[in-house]
């Protein structure tokens, strides 16, 4: 039995943790993959830690949660202990180095430290492209997902928003590419 690719994302409430996981699962599904997303939702939306789970595979995925992740994304310092139990040998890590400063607990996994917030703010001048940069980086690490088809599915996901603001599409593409190219 072929296991699906398992992704866990954790960060501060309001950072877009849930949106990122939802977009990645939905886009994978639009590409013809099987995908499931489930948030770890609680009463603490702001000022708390958010967690989301996504799985992508070729066969139907019956259960939305898992114990060990293949891709582990942290967007803030305190997210690290919160999802540490999901780490296993070979887990790939993406960390938002704008808020994660102490890597000691995760060093052995050789995390990709990405200053997504810094790039969004300084290079793209649009802080809200933060999510797209993270998504780009994640995309590179998920097997069987191409950037081109992901971009196409994003167009379906953001159809309404792109119609209202065509410049958003270009901006998202740019941010996605930057994130994608940060992973080597």
């Amino acid at each position: 039995m072929k296991e699906p690719f398992k992704i866990v994302i954790c960060g501060e409430g309001g950072q877009g943790v849930l949106s990122i996981a939802k977009i990645i699962a939905h886009s994978a599904w639009l590409q013809g993959k099987q995908a499931v997303y489930v948030p770890y939702f609680s009463t603490e939306k702001r000022g708390g830690v958010s967690i989301a789970f996504a799985q992508i595979g070729d066969e139907p995925i019956p259960y939305p949660r898992f114990t060990k992740a293949d891709l582990w994304v942290v967007m803030s310092q305190r997210a690290i202990p919160r999802i540490a139990e999901y780490l296993q040998d070979g887990t790939k890590i993406v960390a938002n180095s704008f808020l994660v400063k102490d890597f000691s607990a995760i060093e052995k996994w050789k995390p990709y430290a990405i200053d997504a917030a810094g790039i969004a703010k300084n290079r793209l001048k649009k802080p809200r492209t933060f999510n797209m940069i993270i998504l780009g980086a994640m995309l590179k690490l998920i097997p069987g997902m191409s950037k081109e088809s992901f971009s196409q599915s994003l167009e379906k996901t953001f159809k309404d928003k792109y119609e209202k603001d065509p410049s958003l599409k270009e901006l998202n593409e740019k941010a996605l590419t930057i994130g994608y190219d940060l992973i080597s």
């Binding site: 009463t43 019956p62 259960y63 939305p64």
Partner: protein, 375 residues
């Protein structure tokens, strides 16, 4: 036309109610079920919803919502509510009245942590409440879907079951099923050859198809026909113990006559397996994956999954259990599903039973693998 969509469980439920021809949702916001209300309120105020006469009302609380639901049903409208956790607790007052008077109320119930307010996320600890809440004897029909597609399929079916058999009928989901997103095939029941059953009013119905006599327990009903007009009076407050006994026996008799038609279950895995896992809902989905993982380790295991928790598939459960050397009941609660299993097997099938009880927390496939492997 059937169409595959990427949907959240709660939206699948909303769409199921729509496909089933439901007209009215009376509810009160609560996590993890609120998106059913969001979906329905949006539908109701759109042009199509207005044309269909869809009704949405956000009540003052779950008690209000559930009694409005009774009003909707008495008026002969396919009505439903959606709640979970503390809201589910509050609705037992109305569900009890519906049970007493054979009113086909429909509720989508998504379990969250308990007891008390607890987490808004997930549990399987509303089994007792859904099946046996209230001060009656638990004559309600409870379906437990196991995946997103079943949220849609059984989200439709509950309406037909309710109006055909005239018992309160619930869909018992959970926070994971409610909030997860994935593929769901949306279809019109007609395409699948599913005929939808028409509702009929209990009150102000002057051209009745199905008589109230023989449906509503006799001590609770007085009908007068005057000048060709029928006036139906209903009560649930009774004066004598004997009347109450009669009500209960009539309800039981009606239930016993149809329970075998309603009951549903699923068995997955090798019939020769020594280990029988019993699980329902999302934990059964987890167990299905666990069975495949165990097979890779050379361990044969089988899953028995009650689809209706009430009526419970007693006969099928006994048959499956009789073939096993060991039973493992896995549930995100303590002794709720397990109690049903023990009650069913007691004195009939003697197989050792292990309980894997994880109240208000999910059970992953690898946990189940560990439990079975350690037996």
């Amino acid at each position: 036309m059937a169409e595959k969509k990427f949907l959240m469980g709660n939206e699948a439920l909303g769409r199921a109610a729509l496909a089933a021809g439901a007209k009215a949702l009376f509810g009160y916001p609560i996590t993890p079920t609120s998106e059913v209300l969001h979906f329905w309120s949006k539908e109701a105020c759109g042009p199509k919803g207005k044309e269909r006469g869809l009704i949405f009302l956000q009540a003052e609380d779950e008690i209000g919502a559930s009694f409005m639901l009774i009003g909707g049903v008495l008026a002969g409208t396919k009505s439903f509510t959606a709640t979970g956790g503390p809201g589910h607790v509050l609705m037992q007052d109305a569900f009890s009245m519906a049970e007493a008077m054979r009113l086909p109320v429909v509720a989508y119930l998504n379990q969250r942590g308990g007891p008390s307010t607890s987490t808004v996320i997930y549990s399987q600890s509303e089994v007792n409440l859904a099946c046996f809440g209230g001060n009656g004897n638990g004559y309600r029909i409870v379906y437990a879907p196991s995946n997103l597609q079943e949220m849609y399929d059984y989200g439709i079916k509950v309406f037909n079951t309710a109006w055909k058999y005239r018992f309160p009928t619930f869909l018992l989901g959970d926070g994971y099923l409610a909030k997860m997103m994935g593929e769901v095939e949306i279809y019109d029941p007609k395409e699948k050859g599913i005929a939808m059953i028409d509702p009929e009013a209990y009150m102000l119905e002057k051209k009745r198809v199905r008589p109230l006599e023989g449906l509503v327990p006799s001590p609770e009903l007085e009908i007068r026909r005057e000048d060709g007009v029928e006036y139906a009076c209903f009560r649930n407050c009774l004066n004598y113990e004997e009347e109450t006994l009669k009500v209960n026996l009539e309800i039981k008799e009606a239930w016993d006559a149809v329970a075998a038609e309603i009951v549903e279950h699923e068995v997955v895995g090798d019939p020769d397996a020594e280990v029988l896992i019993v699980a329902f809902g999302i934990v059964a989905a987890s167990a299905k994956t666990a069975i495949k993982m165990l097979a890779e380790k050379g361990i044969k295991a089988r899953l028995f999954r009650p689809i209706t928790l009430r009526p419970f598939p007693d006969e099928a459960m006994r048959q499956a259990a009789a073939k096993a050397k060991r039973i493992v009941v896995a549930e995100s609660a303590i002794n709720q599903l397990a109690r049903f299993v023990k009650d069913c097997l007691y004195g009939r099938v003697n197989v050792p039973l292990t309980e894997y009880a994880r109240p208000s927390i999910g059970i992953t496939p690898s946990e189940i693998v560990d439990v079975v492997a350690k037996l």
